[in-house]
Symmetry: C2
Subunit: 122 residues, 2 copies
Amino acid sequence: MDENVTKISQHLLKLKALSDETRLDIISLLANGPLCACDILESFKITQPTLSYHMKMLTGSNLVDSVRKGKWMHYSLNQAEFSGLIDYLGRIPKPENRPVVRSSCCGGMDSCDSQAEQVEKP
Amino acid sequence: MDENVTKISQHLLKLKALSDETRLDIISLLANGPLCACDILESFKITQPTLSYHMKMLTGSNLVDSVRKGKWMHYSLNQAEFSGLIDYLGRIPKPENRPVVRSSCCGGMDSCDSQAEQVEKP
DNA sequence: ACGTTATATCGATTTTTTTCAATATGTTGA
DNA sequence: TCAACATATTGAAAAAAATCGATATAACGT
């Protein structure tokens, strides 16, 4: 029931993760296969701590998985989570959601075209 | 060619637009059909200028269309643009993109498992 | 023209995000 | 154990985003 609420925040986390240009580029990089942080770092003009921060955002949203391989940290796109986000977005445009209340400003939705009479709101 | 660059920013704009909780909720509202600003406003605990700001973000990203109907501003989800974003995201996980350079930190990708010898980077 | 209503813009403030230098942690090979 | 390397964390500063009150603009009815 309020699992939905939690889900929304999970999706929001992912959307936030994708809303930064550097991170979106990192995601595109990882789409080609796993990479270690040192490789990713070379593709950008940012410092190592900044990359580490971005990777934390990405792993924190579960869009990216990480495993240690010796000295190196290997990052990979979590396809399932990524697909999950896409599925969520894909379900939005359909009218099965009705997540919040709806009121009407002027009787009906399209009745505003010919707003001969206006409904006063108390 | 660099149309791709522009496209990326368009997608990034949309992702930024969706990365705010209020705006994501507005999108869900609009998924049920067009609404005027006054109606949307009632669903949130924000002021009218703030809503106007958010709607500007949403229309600026083209995820939402707006038309004046008399005194009212009617907002509606731009399904085509929304789908465009979803399509873009859906294409990311496949290896047809290779958007940026790739280097290798230790020979191959999986060779790091048994990193008997390490390749020094000059 | 005027008053009312709906929305937009402006200016300032608060909040959040991004960034980096310094430093810490963890791993490996000698 | 220790030096070297890869990555993480911390603390502070800069940049960007969100918010609001005041005010402007636009449309309508009278």
